[in-house]
């Protein structure tokens, strides 16, 4: 399919693919096995400008948009989703700053993020607040010196590895979701420590960790936007970031499809390559169709957002739901095509299969996102659309 990428976008995609194949492919199984954070790869992505693809040039970036980010995530995830999500989570941790930060905050933090010198992370989830994000308990109490944070965030991607964290906490507990605010907190701030590092089914080279705040004093100038708009900013952030997650699922599905086609051409049973079997062909045809449809939806949504659209909750949810369901289905079928060896750790399919599941869970479970899509449908007037 032709997606009419700009010259810069094509360079971004090709460069990421080259790096993924030369530097990630040889180590992905080991990174997964050892659950080791891919610092060396992060360094290469930083040295090649890739952390700044979506950041304006005045903050050291390449001035592209969400589509540029999606292209990088897709190509990384085609080879290793754990690397892709570690990269993408840094963008997630910077979007709120980019959209609502003051000039001073942007100057202070974005240069380090766009150059990849520092990773970022975003923390909303807590033990009591997953899909029901409004149930967070972490507080930020205003004092004359700044805000004092108390509470524990759970399942935070890049936790411990990132230097710059966007934290959602309650500045007015009694107001619930309307009392939430966003703060920039740097690693090393007294009272900010890291708890348990999770042991996961998939994306194992990525870091998922608890963030613990115990009377952590954050300077007043580190609030993003103003008090009380933390949730509105979060919802907007997630609307904006979800196509990126769609791209993660898409890349993974693409990788699994390629592996399955390759294997089906080589594996001989009953005297012929198994790709000669109609049953296998039908599966591959559906996989390829799903992958291309996911790509079209992810790219189209990213472009819509880049064009300056105001409301894209529905499209963004659709791109994430569709791409992640496709990734789950494609990796399942790819394993089926590999047969027994697909189940073995010597082959890449079992990793892809394990890595796929998370895409249906985080950044809004697919059930919650279907709720959001349906909610938009209930409001929708079908005129001239």
């Amino acid at each position: 399919m032709e997606y009419f990428l700009t010259e810069q976008q094509r360079e971004i995609k090709n460069l990421t693919r080259t790096i993924a194949e030369e530097k990630i492919l040889p180590v992905r199984a080991e990174l997964d096995e050892k659950e080791e954070f891919p610092w060396e790869i992060m360094k290469i992505l930083a040295d090649t400008d890739l952390f700044g693809v979506y950041i304006p040039e005045e903050y050291g970036g390449l001035g592209g948009g969400l589509l540029d980010l999606c292209l990088v995530v897709e190509e990384l995830s085609r080879v290793c989703s754990a690397v892709a999500v570690s990269y993408a989570a840094s963008a997630l941790g910077s979007f709120t700053l980019l959209e609502y930060g003051t000039e001073e905050q942007k100057r202070k933090y974005l240069l380090d993020i766009s150059s990849g010198r520092k990773l970022a992370a975003f923390a909303l989830t807590e033990a009591t607040a997953g899909s029901d994000a409004g149930a967070i308990k972490t507080t930020a109490t205003r004092t004359s010196d700044g805000y004092i944070l108390n509470g524990t965030k759970q399942f935070i991607t890049n936790g411990g590895e990132a230097e710059i964290y966007t934290i959602i906490a309650l500045t007015a507990k009694e107001r619930g979701a309307r009392g939430a605010s966003a703060f920039l907190v740097e690693k090393g701030t007294p009272g900010f420590s890291f708890g348990r590092k999770e042991k996961k089914l998939g994306i194992r080279a990525s870091a998922t960790r608890e963030l613990v705040f115990e009377d952590c004093l954050v300077p007043e100038e580190n609030i993003i936007g103003r008090e009380g708009i933390g949730f509105i900013m979060t919802m907007k952030l997630l609307d904006r970031s979800r196509p990126g997650l769609g791209a993660q699922a898409l890349g993974l599905a693409q990788g699994a499809l390629e592996a399955a086609v390759d294997y089906a051409r080589k594996r001989i049973q009953f005297g012929h390559p198994i790709i000669a079997q109609q049953a296998v062909q039908q599966m591959l045809a559906d996989m390829a169709t799903g992958v291309e449809a996911a790509r079209a939806l992810v790219y189209a949504t990213a472009r819509m957002i880049d064009s300056g659209a105001k409301n894209f909750t529905q499209e963004s949810a659709m791109s994430k739901v569709f791409a992640s369901d496709t990734a789950m289905k494609v990796t399942t079928d790819a394993m089926q095509i590999f047969g027994g060896v697909g189940y073995m750790r010597d082959y890449p399919i079992e990793k892809m299969f394990r890595d796929a599941k998370i895409t249906q869970i985080y950044e809004g479970t697919n059930q919650v996102l279907r709720n959001a899509i349906a909610f938009e449908l209930r409001k929708k007037k079908w005129v001239g659309d």
Partner: protein
């Protein structure tokens, strides 16, 4: 400003599976199917050496490549990573040259460009592995050369290089201009950044044919290829027995000695 010239050969990807290589014994040619051309890996090391010098000193890096059917897309990589210009010596006459003819042609082009301080080449090409072109160029130009180098530094008009030897390295100094052949120990060629990739499309690529270069490569080949073949490999497996581990070990040692391996 330091004027650096890097000679780069385009070869077929040496990482391609051996099964992709076929040989036409009659024509003494390697037949390659579906193997992409790449920059010869040791030449990439040489380019990296040049870029490291450029990182530290105000320099101009010119990449020079000779051959036939050179791929611009492949050689553009050198511009993207930071070389300033690319000069392609392309002509039907530049096909299947031996090391001397190649060195002669490159040296002629370097002479015509003039004003060079340092010439860098890979220690050998990944296809022929002859390793003689670099020294050949130095010989023809009458300048000193240091081969198989793992580190190059410039200091006040001199080159200081670490030359790889079997149990360590030697540190050698020469005046400029000089020629250095670079080994893989120096380190991999860096990736181009996105900005450089986009900008490299506007960097100059010059092409000279034999006439523009003003020389014909020597017609008489100094070296002639007599035959080309893929060696037949035979694998046999023999299980060495014995009652105890010691006995098995002893039997194995005897076998290895009989095979003149021990």
């Amino acid at each position: 400003m330091v004027n650096i010239i890097v000679c780069i050969k385009q070869v077929f990807d040496p990482e391609a599976p051996a099964s992709a290589y076929k040989i036409d014994a009659e024509a003494k040619r390697v037949i390659l199917k579906g193997i992409p051309p790449v920059l010869s890996p040791f030449d990439e090391n040489a380019l990296e050496a040049a870029l490291r010098i450029k990182d530290a000193h105000d320099s101009k890096v010119t990449v020079l490549s000779v051959g036939r059917n050179l791929s611009k897309a492949v050689l553009m990589k050198s511009l993207a990573v930071g070389a300033d210009e690319l000069l392609l010596l392309e002509d039907g006459a530049f096909e299947e040259m031996d090391s001397y003819a190649t060195a002669f042609t490159l040296a002629s082009a370097i002479g015509k460009l003039g004003g060079y301080d340092l010439i860098l080449t890979g220690r050998e090409a990944a296809d022929t592995n002859a390793g003689t072109v670099g020294s050949g160029i130095a010989e023809i130009l009458g300048i000193p050369s240091i081969t198989i180098v793992r580190k190059v530094e410039l200091d006040d008009g001199k080159v200081i290089a670490e030359r790889v030897v079997s149990d360590g390295y030697e540190v050698i100094e020469t005046p400029l201009p000089s020629l250095i052949t670079v080994s893989n120990e120096l380190g991999e060629l860096r990736y181009a950044t996105v900005k450089e990739l986009v900008a490299s499309r506007n960097k100059p690529i010059m092409t000279w044919n034999a006439q523009e270069l003003g020389v014909e490569p020597p017609q008489v080949r100094q070296a002639r290829l007599l035959s080309l073949f893929i060696p037949q490999k035979e694998n046999r497996c023999e299980i060495v027995g014995g009652e105890t581990a010691e006995e098995m070990g002893a039997n194995l040692a005897l076998k290895l000695r009989a095979a003149q391996i021990l």
